[in-house]
Every structure is written in C-alpha cells, then in structure tokens.
Symmetry: none
Amino acid sequence: MIKEQRQERILSELAKRGSVGVVELSKLLGVSEATVRRDLGELAGHGLLRRTHGGAALVERGEELPYHAKAAAYLPEKRRIGAAAAALLEPGQVIGCTGGTTVAQAARLLQGKRLVVVTNALNIALELAGSEETDVIMTGGALRSRSLETVGHIAERSFREFCIDVALLGADGISIKEGITTYHLAEAHANRVLVERSREVWVLADHSKLGKVTPAVIGPVSRMTRLITDAGAPDDFVASLREQGIDVVVV
Amino acid sequence: MIKEQRQERILSELAKRGSVGVVELSKLLGVSEATVRRDLGELAGHGLLRRTHGGAALVERGEELPYHAKAAAYLPEKRRIGAAAAALLEPGQVIGCTGGTTVAQAARLLQGKRLVVVTNALNIALELAGSEETDVIMTGGALRSRSLETVGHIAERSFREFCIDVALLGADGISIKEGITTYHLAEAHANRVLVERSREVWVLADHSKLGKVTPAVIGPVSRMTRLITDAGAPDDFVASLREQGIDVVVV
DNA sequence: ATCGACATGATTGAAAATGAGCGAACCGCG
DNA sequence: CGCGGTTCGCTCATTTTCAATCATGTCGAT
C-alpha cells in the first residue's frame, strides 16, 4: 500500500469516528506503529488532524484558522489595547465591532457586560456567544474566510438598522494622509457603513499599523474619535493626531 | 482506547443521562477509577461538565455553553447521518442549513464541495469558513447562545432573498402528529422561513428525536421530503413516514 | 551493477498516561 | 452531633506512547 492511500485511509477513518489510536491504525493498515506515527505527524503538519497521545483527533474549527487569537502577532500589545477599549465602554451602550484579532481581544473582555454588540465578524460573535448579559447581533452577509467578516449588501443593510454609540474598528493601516485602510474592498465598504452609523469611532491598532497604507479606504483619520494603540507608536504620529483633536490612548 | 475517545464517550454518556458516576464509568470504559477521576477533572476544567461527589453532572444553565454537551450525545450516529446527507448533495446546489450539532457534522463534510451554503448558524459557518470552494452566506440576526443560531427579522429577511435547493434541518423533535419541532420559538420561526424558501427539506435527526415533541413547531412532517436518521429508529415510525411518501434514509 | 532517495521497521531513552495505595474530606444515617 | 463507608486528591511505580536515530529494503536513474 502506497503512503498516500494509507494516509487517505487514516483521514477517512478519522472522519468516520472522530478519533483514532495508533495501535488501532497499525493493525488496521498492517504497518508498524512507527509508520503510523510518521503519517500522523505528517498529516498534523498539514493541519489535517490534531495529534494526541495515543492517536489523533479531528481538528477543531477555529483552532487552525489564520486569525486564531493565540497565533496573533503582537499579542501582548493587542491584549492591552483590547483591555483599554473594554474599560472605556459603559453599560447599556450599543457597540459595533468589525473583525480583526485586536477587536477580538477587546470583545473577549466584554463578556458579562450589559451591552448590545452589533458585528459582521464571526470571531467576535463567537467570543461573546457564551455571555448571558450581552446581546449579540450579527449582520449577516457573504463570509470571507480570511478575516471571518461577512460583507455585501446584507451586512450593510443590517448595520443601517442600528444607531451605534461606539464603533470598534480594527484597521490594517492608519495613515494621516490616506486615512484608515484595510486590505479588502468589500470589508472596507461594510466597515464604512458601520462608521456612518456610529456616533463615536474608536480604532484599535497596534503600532505596526501606524503610518501604513493598505489598498481599501474606510475613511479619513478625522472621522476617528479615538485611537487606542501601544507604546511602540511614534511620538510625532501621536502628536499629529492629537492636534486634530483625536483622543489617542497609548497603553 | 485513547484518551480522546474515552472522554468523548464520557460526555456522550453524560449528555444522554444527565449525570454519571465514577464507578459506573470505570466499569463501562474498562479503566480504573483514578483515570475516570482524572478525565472528569480535565473535562470540568474545560467547563464541559460539573464535578459532583461520586461522579459528574451537566453544567448548569448559565456560564457555559451547553452546546458542547449536546454535541457529544450520540456523536457516532450524528457523524453517520451527517456523512449520508453530505453524500447526497450535488455540486452547484444551494443549501440552507439550520443550526444543530447533527447538521454541523454534515457541514464539516461539505468542505471543498462547490456549493452555496446559506445558514443562520454560527457553528455551521465556522465549519465551512476554511473552505475555498464553498460560498457561505450568513443570514445575520440576534444570536442565541444556546444553539448558536441567529434569529429575528434580519435572519428571516435574509433567507427570503434566496431560492434554496435543499434545506438541511436539525430538529429537536419529530412527531407524526405534531410535526417537526424545536425548543425555541424564534428559532422555529426562522427555520420556517427557510423551509418556505426550499424546494426540498431534509431533516437530520438521530433516533432520540423521533416521536418526541418540543414546544415550537417548524412544520408538519408532510413538508419534509427526506429524513436521515440512524438505525435506532423504530420500524413503525419509519414505515409510517414512508407511507406518506417521505424518503427515509437509515444509516 | 552502483548509487542515491525514499519509505519502512526496529531500537532506545524520555515523557505521558495509567493504576494502586493511602490519609483526608465528604456523604448519608442514626 | 458522631460514625462508617465512600469518594477524593495525592504520590509513586508501572505501563504505554513518543520522538529520534539507525539499519534495511525498494525503486528508479545513471
């Protein structure tokens, strides 16, 4: 039996049963346990299964997807930024959230607060799914797997149904000249509608985003009422925003 | 048997019966009581069950999602049902999915198929989020943490925008007399709209749901075009549905 | 025929999981 | 209350599993 066939077989067995043991597979496939371990290791390397002691199990969705919070870059900064944002929000407010790992960190800390959260991002909704106190409204729309945001007319129409107190925006780039930008046009469009409907716009971004420009414009920096970033932010950048009357919180 | 399988078994047993004893599990699984205790401790640490003296019980309504507990009950049956449903779908079709753990098992196997999936359930969207081939549309709406479904007028309006080939319905109860039912009124309402918009209606339910009635009606059994269930289904129940011209698939 | 690349199987010391033993804590019951 | 039996959490020895290494076998190319 060829390696490919064997690995195929392992995956199908796993799909059928949810978890499999090394010894078990060894007997089933008629190869040594060493070979089974090698196969499992290889498959796990491709993210097709999760290795466990004694065997393997199905990968949990969300464990391996690109935005998984634990895998995020600048995680400590993002956590602090998220915590600061969460602390500044008040009970009873209506919050709009875009996707992104920084916003997700904030969302995680909103659990149990009496808030209404409107979001087009799957990961945000998921963070808050367990919270009894928080009302979560998803906008719906076409799902973009890269960012887990939903976009398109459904998302935009839903955003328009709300009057939002504070928008928590996770941007990919913030430039004094070019404004708040993101990578994807459809996301930018949905986010723009959120901004339109929001009284305040807070942007959550670690310092790596500052001065950066990405293709799709959400809006000018002047539309932002508060920026929460980390201590790595360049002083002149911060000063320039403050001159424009934007509240810059550095954590 | 590896640890994962054993713990899955424990959760399944717990979901079926509401509470389990250490000694009992030890005999059932063929491992020492010490190991059972360790497993229970670990699962309790993940919030998947509540430790009691002498055993374990389901987590109280409140902090944790009962979703995980539900997911573990009749898991092998649900996998087979999900696989059968996935195998019967054809490329290019527009599929509507409600929430529910059985439907989630089917969704997992739809990855990579060229389909359009419209759903009001967060867990379904998450299963398919990684798939490049599959277009996923979320309806949006207010999120119910218990089932991870979104409900309300936003969800219903979104469903109405689609012409759906096949609806995959996960019901909580199916009764010849009372029809297809679920626990929650708002969910039933959203699901009813999905059914309206669908050419075919397939219900995915393990045998524990058959003959059961729960508070909120989705529709009469006659509206269902196919039932996929497991071998534990009572013969007379299956026969009765077949008399009505419903295609019953037993896996 | 020889070589090299690759897959497989066996070996080994380390790590993890398991099972048994033992006081301490807890339950039900008088 | 207090008591006996059960259950718990802990430690320690044993078994299982792991990852790494090396040897063998297979196949195709030179």
